[in-house]
Symmetry: C2
Subunit: 253 residues, 2 copies
């Protein structure tokens, strides 16, 4: 049974998609069978792997509303052990469409159940909100990775996200836990980065990953070429950061 990990934080632009893509790719090169599920209507995870948005007819949306089996939505990527369940624009309407649907919170869990034994890891990239799409992801997941920028606003919304995880733990998914808080866009030269990182470690102690992702322009550039960082520049600090993270994760499970 593969481990299902949601990458979530309602704060925008903190590196959720960059983490989901590059963690999944790093697990795949370690020959772990990995599925990346993109449940963000922005569909950035797909495009970061070179998948053109307007090519996607069937997406996670069709699996959520029960029109397709998730097996029919999954596609292969450049990496042998990495598959992708892409998003598309139809997902935007899903939150409003699902509001009055039956078992609206567990649709993704039901969709993934049929394929979870085919993978060692399933990574879910969430949108920047705590709506039904993120709730569905947290209801499906064994654990959640919370990327946090080393910037001021980072700590602001965290209590809200952790409350949501607790609510889900009480009602929909008793086994969910925090896999870890991941410090992203850490800038060595910037005092604020060090200060926020210290605050986060003091507050969350061993819940913070050892691995830290530095601010590294290669992580932006690789996306514009539709490649994960390890296929673009494996020696870059960004690539090393995510390979470290994958190692840290594999050592636990």
């Amino acid at each position: 049974m593969g481990r299902i990990i949601a990458v979530a934080n309602q704060k925008g632009g903190v590196g959720k998609t960059t983490t989901a893509i590059n963690l999944a790719a790093s697990l795949a090169v370690a020959e772990k069978k990995t599925l990346l599920v993109d449940i963000d209507p922005q569909a950035n995870a797909g495009s970061g792997l070179g998948c053109k948005k307007n090519e996607i007819r069937e997406s996670v949306y069709h699996a959520l509303i029960g029109e397709k089996d998730i097996k029919d939505v999954i596609r292969r990527t450049e990496l042998k052990y990495l598959d992708l369940a892409p998003s598309n624009i139809d997902l935007t309407g899903a939150e409003i469409e699902l509001v009055s649907a039956i078992s609206r919170e567990t649709r993704l869990r039901e969709a993934i159940a049929s394929i979870s034994d085919d993978y060692d890891y399933i990574i879910i990239d969430c949108p920047p909100s705590l709506g039904l799409l993120t709730v569905n992801s947290l209801t499906s997941a064994d654990s959640v990775i919370v990327p946090m920028q080393c910037e001021y606003f980072a700590m602001e919304g965290l209590s809200h996200l952790l409350n949501t995880v607790n609510l889900i733990k009480k009602s929909l998914n008793p086994s969910i836990k925090i896999e870890g808080i991941l410090l992203t866009m850490f800038d060595q030269r910037n005092r604020l980065s060090h200060q926020v990182a210290e605050d986060i470690r003091a507050h969350f102690k061993e819940q913070v990953f050892e691995s830290v992702i530095p601010r590294n322009v290669k992580l932006s550039e690789c996306t514009s070429f539709g490649k994960p960082i390890l296929l673009y520049d494996i020696k870059s600090r960004g690539a090393v950061g995510y390979l470290d993270l994958a190692q840290e994760l594999m050592a636990r499970h």
Copy 2:
């Protein structure tokens, strides 16, 4: 009748809140009576002006559901000509609560109507989604400012946002127009920044503001002190960028 401007982009972390706070503050020091409306449940605009989240009892939420008049929610700030209508955690539930409510898209417009003559500018900070809170903002606004990071994903979601604006123009708010696309976090040293900025200008021509906001750590630091950049470091490149933007805007209206 004050000009109502929404700051919107469903892509997360592009500088919506930083733009809303610092544009509003720059207009206020030019002695334009300005109201900053925070309709993002993350309530970052309030905290960027030193307003503690847990102090807010009445927020924009109570004006949206009709429990309070927006006048009772508005509070003063450190700047004489800048008022704030703060957000709080109650707003998170608003999207689901409003789905089946009457006139769910025009609640904010109705709430603002009673005070719009008291201000020269009303700036609305939107959440990173195209849900009912952003739809309410676009339905209330005369125009919309779209902050765009000079990064790869920036262009990805833009067509989706522009489609939403057009839909609103056809049905709910015929007079809305694009005030401008604002290039944010522009990094002089970074090739990708220049490339994306060129692409955006080639594509959107005169719809792109002349003013460009540079990547400037002071814009992050000032937030941790609860001050707009011009009260934190008026000589910084970040402050100059937003003062330029305010000038450009005032020259038009």
